[in-house]
Structure formats: C-alpha cells, structure tokens
Symmetry: C2
Subunit: 291 residues, 2 copies
C-alpha cells in the first residue's frame, strides 16, 4: 500500500504542517505572555499542552496513523486547539463513493492541520483554519480560514480580514478569492436558522491541478492566517466587555456547536472513520449557552 | 385529508397531553416556590413562560399545525421546557419510506408532549419525557422517560426510578419493562464515546395493538413521570455542591448536546419536517462546557 502514495511529497507537507503548528503556538503563547491590559489579566498566561493520539484498528477499518492535539486554556484564548494528524486506511463501502478517486481503490492517506480558537473577549471573533492533503488514487489539497464574530457586526475586522485574503488569493489566480469566498459562505451556513455561521473567509477543496502551485497556495493560506488573526487579537484585546456581551457570545457559540455537530463534513468524516474524539471535538467551545 | 384521521381519538389525546403539561408545570412551579434551602435560594422562584408557534408552509411540505413551548428558568430548574404540538402534512419522498404506514400514502398527523429539565444542582439528574401519537395509514403511540445523572453514580435514584417504571409496566404487560428498558439503553447511547447517555429508563415506539390499552399505557407513563421525578428533585435539593461538581455537570451536559444533535431521531425529524427551532432545541442545556 505504501508505494501507491507519493511519500516524498507527503513528508514535505507533513513537515510544513508541523512547522506552521509550531509557529502558531509560539505566536499565541507570546500574546498570552505580553498582553497585560486584558480584562482577565489576573489569570495565568496560557501554555499549550500536547496530547499524542494513535488511531486504533476498529469498526472494520484497516487503519493507522495518529496525531497531536495541542490545547491551550489561557487568559486571552479561552480555548484554542491545534491538531495535526496523518491517518491512512481504507474507506468503508458507504464512503468510497462519496470521496474523489476512491471508487476503484478505497485506500486513502490524509494529513492535515486544523485550528479553532475561542476567545474570552466577545469582541474578538472565533477563528477556524484547516489545511489538508488527501490522497486516494488522486491527491488534492483543501482547507480554508473563516472567522465567527461573537457580538455585533465588526465591520472593520471583516474588511481587514477579507482584504488580506483577497490580496493573497490574487497573487495566485484572480478567480480564487471570489470562488473560495462563495464556497465558504455556502459551506458555513445553518439552514435550520437561515443564518450564516460567521463573517466568512475562504474555503477550497479538491485542488489538484498543479502540485507545486497548489502546495504554494496552501502554504500562503497558512501564512495569511498568521498575518491576520494575531493582529486582530492584539488590536481588540483592550476593549472591555459587559456581562450582556458575554451572554451573547455564549449563545452565539451554541450556533457554532450546532453547525459542527449537524453539518460539518470534517466532524462526520472523523466520526465515520474512527477518528480521535478529542481531536474531532477540539473545535467545541469551552462555555456555551442555549437559553 | 381531515377525514382519514381518527379525529375523536386525536382530540382525546391532545386534551390529555395538554392536561399533563398543565399538571407538570404547576408541580414544578410549586417546587420553585416552596423550596427555601436550595443553594441559590437568592434567585427568584421561576414561572413558566409560554411561546405559541405555528408551523409554516415551506421546504415543499404542505404543512399545518403548531404548538406551545413552555420554558422556565428558575432557581431549582435551571432550564425546563415542555412542548406540546400537533402537526400535519405530507412526508417528503425521502422520509415516507422510513415511516410506518407512509409508503402508500404520505399524509401524516403527529401530536406529542416533550419535556427536558436541566437542574442547577449536579446531584439531580436531567430528565427527559416524551409521549406522542402519530397517524399515517396506521396510528401508533411512542415515547418514554429517562434520566441523565450529571455527577457520580446515584444508585439510590436509579433504583427508585427503575422500580417505579417496572411496577407501572407490569400492570400492563410483564414483558414491557424488560423490552422498553433495553430499547431505551440502546437508543440513548453515544457510539463515538462508547458511553450511555444516562441511567436509562423506558422507550417505546410503534405501539398500535389496541388503541384503548396503549393510550392507557401512555397515560401511565406520564403519570409515572409525575410520581417520580418531582420526588427525586425534592429529596436531593438540600445537598450542597462544589465548583468541581458543577464543572463535571457542564461537561456531562456536552454529551447531552452531542447525543441530541448527532443521533436523536426527534431532532432530525423536526429539522427535516420544517419544525419550530425553539421547540426542537428546547432540549439543549442552558450552560455547557467542552474543555
């Protein structure tokens, strides 16, 4: 099975995801250390804790691989999780027809990084980033970044975030931003509430045209996350919040849970392929309300 | 369409569900008023608030009906919702093959009462009760009661609750308790965590043998809820709780959310038939944590 996958490319991607994870964790820990005016400065600055997990053979999947979940509960980041993983195995009969390139051969390899940050401050949106490479008989990149405001409509943040995404996309292909923004809006949508999950961002999948180019694009998405979200955090962190704003945030987080458990394909993929529960549910918020 | 349904029987069932709702709400409000030693006695005693909802015609369902959600946020009951509803319409092509008696004729009528109580005290289990009557070309009762402990293993409560259910079931049919307890255990199960939702109870469906007998059984299930759960509340309410016990409760509530959004058929039925979101998500806890 090993030889059917492009091992050298996979090693490069895994190396990149790991270095991106390290850079993000360092950046977030620095924010925790250096910001003194935050409303709950009395709390200890957070540090990431790592949990290694291995994928077991169960539920009829031949399986292997695993990952590392890094979780931090800090004074700025109420809960942030970054998971990197590489898993391989065979898709079930039910799944193979849903996955690109898996209908004749149900072996797969998947590696990815996924991040969700839930902030103490209702003024700072929750952040989500995911980058992944999947190989069946074909190989493709997918992923995206999006932000979910927790209180009000922070137009300034939306503008700076989308401008940065547009500028980055335009360096690669002038059609990307429009296409991937629309995809994101359509994907992160709660039909039962006729409600968008957040302020959007970009979402892409099945990107397999040119390996070097799409890997460069994928890396640029990761870099754009690092160039935008930490700045938004720093810029908003001094704003105080009220009890009522905090309540609104906890209710908005309920929508996040509804989306992830009812509609998210990554969650469903994880549960169906016997993934690690800690890693799959890393995205769920630390504190939530349904009134 | 009207004439294909047993209108007189339906009126009787609706009348019973309404009177059960009134009795439960009155009983819970009395507990709120009369219990003085509760840890958060400083809060105001709760009162139920009613919200009437009508089912709109959308998503290609011909539809009608509606319901009333009664919600109370009190000092003993952190959040309790009781919904009664009667809805009618036609099942979608996708659904008609899944529903008893709907494959030749996709018209349906459904009426029910459903209750979920989340308590302030981690020592009192969350309670769930649902009774329903559905008519397609056939008519049947379904429902059940189950409790979900939030902290530790309250064996005493489990014993008194199951004994009461067993005694009630045995008055109707000596096979009921064993069968319906097993059904409940199998239904309220989280496969992704290999974990039961709670301490079980009883669950029954497609009960259509003899209309008068099954209606009597259904009413007895409602009465057993009234005879057991309020007593458990009163018996446990003086127990103080620690911050750590409260934290455990909030995490356990996360499992409740996972079950309801990932597996509950009532939730899926509601979302698929264009049901009222407030009524469907009434079951979700007021305060939840995922660490």
């Amino acid at each position: 099975m090993k030889n059917t996958f492009p091992n050298k490319r996979i090693k490069n991607i895994e190396k990149y995801f790991k270095s991106l994870r390290d850079e993000i964790c360092l950046c977030f820990e620095n924010i925790e250390d250096n910001i003194k005016n935050v409303s709950n400065a009395g709390l200890k600055a957070g540090k990431f804790k790592k949990r290694v997990w291995k994928r077991g053979a169960d539920e009829g999947f031949s399986s292997g691989g695993g990952g590392v979940v890094s979780i931090m509960n800090g004074r700025v980041f109420e809960k942030v999780g970054v998971n990197i993983s590489s898993v391989m195995g065979t898709f079930s009969e039910e799944m193979r027809n849903e996955i690109t390139g898996a209908s004749n051969n149900n072996k797969f390899f998947a590696t990815g990084i996924s991040l969700v940050a839930h902030m103490h401050s209702p003024h700072i949106p929750a952040a989500h980033m995911n980058l992944r490479y999947i190989h069946t008989t074909k190989g493709w990149f997918g992923g995206g970044i999006d932000l979910t405001p927790m209180y009000g409509k922070p137009d300034k943040i939306k503008k700076q975030f989308h401008n940065a995404l547009k500028e980055m996309c335009n360096k690669h292909d002038s059609r990307y931003y429009g296409k991937f923004k629309k995809w994101c809006d359509e994907y992160f949508y709660l039909p039962h509430r006729n409600e968008a999950r957040g302020m959007g961002g970009i979402f892409f999948d099945n990107m397999e045209e040119n390996w070097d180019q799409t890997f460069r694009f994928t890396k640029d998405v990761g870099q754009t996350f690092l160039n935008t979200f930490p700045n938004i955090v720093i810029q908003e962190i001094d704003k105080k919040w009220t009890k009522r704003q905090r309540e609104k945030q906890l209710i908005k987080r309920g929508r996040y849970v509804e989306f992830n458990l009812l509609y998210d394909k990554g969650t469903a993929f994880g549960l169906k392929t016997g993934g690690n529960i800690d890693a799959i549910f890393m995205s769920l918020p630390p504190s939530v309300s349904w009134l």
